[in-house]
Subunit: 312 residues, 2 copies
């Protein structure tokens, strides 16, 4: 690995795995077309605190659309969002949160949605770092993606977030083209408007790409079992299990958020990115666990070289 800022403790494990599966004539050699690597996005490739960025997009979108929906001023959970009462919004339940996400992601064509996301990403800033959301990617993980591709791997994103949302940035941030982004999906409807076909986003969920949904989506879309999988939470557990239970050499890695100085520290009891069962299974099965605090010299591309503890 040519990058000096990349994974340190986990680095050996990754380099060793890549060396084995790419060694022609070796017992663990895997031809390039089967070198599939899958990456979770939120909390694995970019940050997910204080809320998933796509939820922040949805909240901003509800505010932007509010003038066209006067009824939202008195209707829950919209009125919580519009009055900034995020505590009541969070307490209103998953179904309620989903209805806001659906409202923000529907009633437009796929082309219009893409433009809306692009515009938001250009102007929105992270509430704590004040950086653009596109700057909240993990530098070591971006380098890891490139390293795997340089070794013949095809890199896929397999995210609980919406595929259409992630695709807007996946190529520029991660070098992953749209057709290698797998994610949750809303229902689409084919319509012909003024003689031109459009795909309209409906306020209904078609597929949730989380937990057991991840191996199901991998089989549905990719059609072969990955060689390596990278995640950070219990939502990735089934994807890691599915990947590592295939024959031959396999690799699983979990990013542990344990750096409350440069990023955030959370795991077993976190509402976002809960890492509990997957942590136990990682230890039981010998999966690689990366400590952001100890293993990453740099977290975000815009942070300077970190203090001594990271410069080892």
């Amino acid at each position: 690995m040519s990058c000096t800022s990349a994974l340190t403790l986990a680095k050996t494990a990754i380099i060793d795995f890549v060396a084995r599966v790419t060694a022609q004539g070796g017992p663990d050699f895997v031809p390039p077309e089967r070198r599939i690597a899958v990456f979770d996005n939120d909390g694995t490739l970019w940050a997910e605190q204080p809320v998933y960025f796509q939820l922040q997009f949805a909240l901003d979108r509800v505010k932007a659309l509010a003038p066209q929906h006067p009824e939202w001023q008195t209707k829950e959970p919209y009125r919580f969002v519009l009055s900034g009462d995020m505590k009541s919004f969070a307490a209103s339940g998953t179904k309620s949160v989903m209805s806001v996400i659906e409202a923000a992601h529907s009633g437009m064509t796929t082309d219009e949605f893409e433009k809306t996301v692009k515009d938001w990403l250009r102007t929105a800033r992270h509430p704590q770092t004040h950086q653009p959301y596109t700057a909240m990617v993990y530098k070591p993980m971006v380098e890891l993606l490139a390293y795997l591709r340089a070794n013949g791997f095809k890199t896929f994103i397999v995210s609980g977030g919406g595929a259409g949302f992630i695709r807007v940035v996946a190529e520029s941030l991660y070098g992953v083209p749209p057709e290698q982004v797998i994610g949750s999906q809303g229902k689409l409807e084919y319509q012909v408007r003024d003689g031109k076909p459009v795909l309209v986003k409906l306020p209904e969920v078609q597929f949730v790409d989380d937990k057991e949904g991840k191996p199901i989506a991998i089989q549905t879309v990719i059609g072969r079992r990955p060689l390596a999988a990278f995640g950070n939470s219990d939502g990735d557990l089934e994807m890691l299990e599915w990947t590592t239970s295939g024959p031959g050499s396999r690799f699983a890695l979990i990013v542990h958020h344990d750096d409350d100085e440069r990023e955030w520290a959370y795991d077993r009891r976190s509402r976002i990115g809960t890492l509990d069962k997957a942590w136990d299974e990682a230890k039981a099965k010998g999966w690689t666990v990366v400590s952001m605090k100890d293993d990453w010299a740099i977290v975000f591309p815009w942070t300077l070289q970190a203090p001594t503890r990271d410069a080892r």
Copy 2:
């Protein structure tokens, strides 16, 4: 195009289109990552008569499974299949046909299904040509796939047939890897058996990749609009409309089955591969229509150079 047996009348149109979108600095230039070409499978890349090959697989599978299902001997539509009464089976309706397909495609893991399809393809023979089904591919179309790839295109299959079925042969027959095969999907269930995860095929349809389902699946899986689309029936109409309505140079082609000597002749009134509305729209919009009879020197790889009418 280096291949002498390839499309003749349509050849100029294809070569002209490819030349325009690959001419760097030209007004129609498209960078390689956006050169997406989508192909229907049944009737476009391989034959679909006298019945879709996957339906034939399902019928053979019902016969193979019959000893384990004594109740099928008296239960419709299974008893039609087991007694060879295909007329009654065909007349029993779409729902009935679907139930046979679901029965033949479920109750096993995805790995077991892959093996079952492989075994069937090795032994089954086409009822009329007595060739293996894998020999029923159209030579000019296989050459076209390779020609497009040689010009930087990424080729996808977008089929009403099952993705899991087509993936078994797509790489060896067409050079298309599993992750570039889009098709209809049954529901999958994630289970852990003896500590090992498996994906079990359920007897329920998850997605039908036909008609308006094709552009929806293209958007869902690929996430960008194709540059070129190839089909043969009304089931491909929305895919061709969606493809050609994008900005810039686009290309649409329909294979017309008009050769009852070397293949089959059918179009507007056919039960299988109906070509009616899409034919009218092809004429109205100037899409390229290939005559198998007039434009193809060779249809199947195992046929000799054809009589004078094709050797022009």
